[in-house]
């Protein structure tokens, strides 16, 4: 394998992983709060369309990116209402949202093509390290690639070391227990979905503003669902998600290099594509879903929230009285 081929695999792998990483981070936040958002593919599509459209209209990719984030948040608000406050079945609603987004963006694209030759983000070359043979390509990426890594570290830190992260993870581990302790699970979950969908919308915009040079119908081509799988592969850990997304990107890019190797040419290219999914199943099997948020996908009805919050208040009031009684005694 020549240096040029290795550079192509590595560079191509990173390019393919970035939209998946952004979307995966959003899904990870949502799933940590107990919401499984199968509508991720739809949110990515909408983010991609709006991002491309705004970038084209304004000739400004940064505005396109923020538009992707904004529309992602708007989708998140709709989905949060459905998932959290209406307590609908998350799988069915998510799938319906994706189908609706596919139809909507395809129709809109046919009426208003959103940029077929957009000038996307320019590559930022990190001086010095970018000249290292083969791995130097890692340091010749668009800013969205560097920011995605920073965002993954920030999400990892935020979920583990901040009060909001604690509330999010608590809502994902047990909504009833969390509500009993006085936390408004609905608010926490709604914020998580809106925040997560912002990341997902950004992932869609990143795809069209760095990779595809514009929107085309069904441009995401199941990348959202791949991000969903990568979150599981990463064990709901944002740092591990970087590795999972990289595995996906490299195995995806590698299939084309492998097709050039005559001794491996007979291996179906689909086999290389299946590596990340096989790895996901393998990891889930050996960990037996150890790190799965326990309340994942389980709606928490509004009535339960009210009862639990009242119960929590009563419990806290009794505790306070007991404590004051002990002090007085």
């Amino acid at each position: 394998m020549t240096t040029a081929v290795l550079v192509t695999i590595l560079g191509g792998g990173i390019a393919l992983m970035i939209p998946v990483l952004w979307a995966g981070l959003g899904e990870l936040i949502e799933e940590s709060a107990g919401i499984i958002n199968v509508g991720i593919e739809g949110v990515m599509l909408v983010g991609a369309y709006v991002g491309a459209q705004v970038a084209q209209l304004t000739s400004n990719v940064v505005l396109g990116l923020f538009a992707g984030i904004g529309i992602g948040a708007a989708c998140g608000a709709i989905l949060a209402y459905l998932y959290v406050y209406r307590a609908v079945d998350q799988l069915i609603t998510g799938l319906m949202f994706t189908l609706m987004a596919l139809g909507l963006t395809t129709v809109l694209y046919q009426k208003n093509p959103a940029g077929t030759a957009l000038a996307g983000f320019q590559v930022w070359v990190i001086p010095g390290v970018s000249r290292i043979p083969v791995v130097g390509v890692v340091f010749r990426q668009t800013p969205l690639a560097y920011f995605a890594i920073v965002a993954a570290i920030a999400v990892w830190y935020g979920l583990r070391h901040t009060w909001l992260g604690l509330y999010i993870r608590a809502a994902g581990q047990g909504a009833q227990t969390t509500a009993t302790s006085g936390v408004n699970v609905h608010q926490v979950r709604a914020v998580s979905v809106i925040m997560g969908c912002s990341f997902i919308g950004l992932g869609g915009a990143a795809l069209v503003l760095t990779e595809t040079g514009g929107f085309v119908a069904d441009v995401t081509n199941d990348l959202g669902f791949i991000a969903l799988a990568m979150v599981m592969l990463a064990g709901w850990n944002a740092l591990a998600l970087i590795g999972a997304a990289f595995l996906f990107g490299v195995s995806d890019a590698m299939q084309y290099a492998v097709q050039n190797i005559s001794s491996l040419a007979h291996v179906p290219h689909d086999l290389w594509l299946s590596i990340p999914y096989l790895a996901t199943i393998f990891v889930l099997a050996i960990t037996r879903g150890r790190d799965v948020p326990r309340a994942l996908g389980i709606p928490f009805p509004v009535s339960d929230q009210r009862v639990r919050i009242r119960l929590g208040r009563v419990t806290q009031s009794i505790r306070r009285r007991q404590e004051s009684g002990i002090r007085a005694g």
Partner: protein, 365 residues
């Protein structure tokens, strides 16, 4: 059923309805006008893969269907054009729906649903069904036809150009999920290149989608990294990824297919193999409305209805040297006269191993 769960069910049904409406209105359009006695079939459905403005296969079908629609609207013919049907099941469902709705002729511009074609045709014996680029095993139902074209002649000519302009003596093809009508496009490009340069190196890559731009780009980058400097896509809108890859590697050329792609990437697109999909679509609709279709393969020869023609060279006229132009003109003449027959190669990889002695001698350049 409680009020809440009833409301939830209603919301799901509502979402399904919205999704169905959005999917259904993906560019469908109809026209109608006064009646004409020479018209035997007044309702025609054209179902096709891809969207109507993707500057690729779907765009070409749409242009042909739209031209027929405008021509026939004054004669009371309704032409309904339905894009974005990308799986065989879509054709089964939509084909059945249109037949039930009283459509007399359905043109499926897909190439991957022969079983569905026969199944629906048997169910609706009074409706005529035709599909592009499929091989239907006999016996054919009376109301089934296929259409094919020697559009791969254009791919062969493009291969001649690719084989001549490649400075690295290395060309590459990127193909979507294979089926014979698609495979022959890439294989005949390779064969055309080998005709002018028997020792040319060939890289052939497959991607799992016709529309995934990112995959098209990744595969093209891989081909460029392997040394290829002329790329040929047997993919649909994923071609855009190939154009992006070529643009980031100066000295790389692309010869796309279906729809003139010059405006998308004027600095890398040498020419486009137009294939004549629009002309074939229009011709078949015109035959269909007159009730003149019988159960056989409608085969369009080179240059009939624009089949296999190349788009202008625009910025790259200088690449087409007088010597190459002389060879191209001679090859075109041979195709028209029948002294050069480009083989239909439905098996991946066969273009690179095809016995060149079965082709006539290369014309002098």
């Amino acid at each position: 059923m409680s009020g809440k769960s009833h409301a939830r069910s209603l919301s799901i049904v509502g979402a399904l309805a919205v999704a169905a409406v959005l999917a259904a209105c993906g560019g469908s359009s109809t026209t109608s006008g006064s009646t004409n006695t020479s018209i035997k079939v007044s309702k025609v459905a054209v179902l096709f893969a891809g969207v109507s403005n993707n500057r690729s296969f779907g765009n070409s079908v749409y242009d042909g269907a739209n031209a027929a629609k405008q021509q026939l609207s004054s004669q009371g013919v309704t032409v309904t054009v339905v894009p974005n049907l990308n799986s065989p099941d879509d054709y089964l469902h939509q084909g059945t729906s249109f037949a039930k709705a009283g459509y007399g002729f359905e043109l499926w511009m897909f190439g991957g649903a022969p079983d569905q074609l026969v199944a629906v045709a048997k169910q609706f014996p009074n409706v005529t069904f035709c599909e592009l680029g499929v091989m239907v095993p006999p016996p054919w139902p009376k109301n089934v036809c296929t259409l094919s074209g020697e559009y791969y002649d254009g791919d062969f000519l493009a291969g001649m150009i690719g084989g001549t302009i490649s400075k690295a003596h290395h060309i590459a093809t990127v193909e979507g999920p294979a089926f014979p009508a698609l495979t022959t496009e890439a294989e005949d490009f390779v064969l055309g290149a080998r005709w002018v340069d028997p020792h040319i190196k060939v890289t052939q890559l497959s991607i799992p989608s016709y529309v995934d731009v990112a995959q098209g780009q990744a595969a093209s980058n891989s081909a460029i990294a392997a040394g290829a400097d002329v790329l040929f896509p047997a993919i649909d809108q994923a071609t855009q990824g190939m154009l992006l890859a070529a643009q980031s590697h100066p000295g790389t050329y692309v010869i796309p297919q279906y729809y003139d792609s010059h405006s998308l990437a004027p600095n890398v697109v040498v020419t486009t193999v137009l294939l004549g999909i629009d002309g074939m679509t229009k011709s078949m609709i015109n035959l269909g409305v007159k009730g003149q279709i019988s159960n056989h393969d409608y085969h369009f020869k080179y240059a009939q209805a624009g089949v296999g023609k190349l788009a202008p060279y625009y910025n790259f006229s200088s690449l087409i040297t007088p010597s190459l132009q002389a060879r191209l003109s001679a090859a075109e003449a041979m195709l028209t006269q029948g002294t050069l027959t480009v083989p239909f190669i439905g098996t991946p990889g066969q273009g690179a191993s095809y016995d060149l002695s079965q082709l006539p001698p290369l014309p002098a350049g």
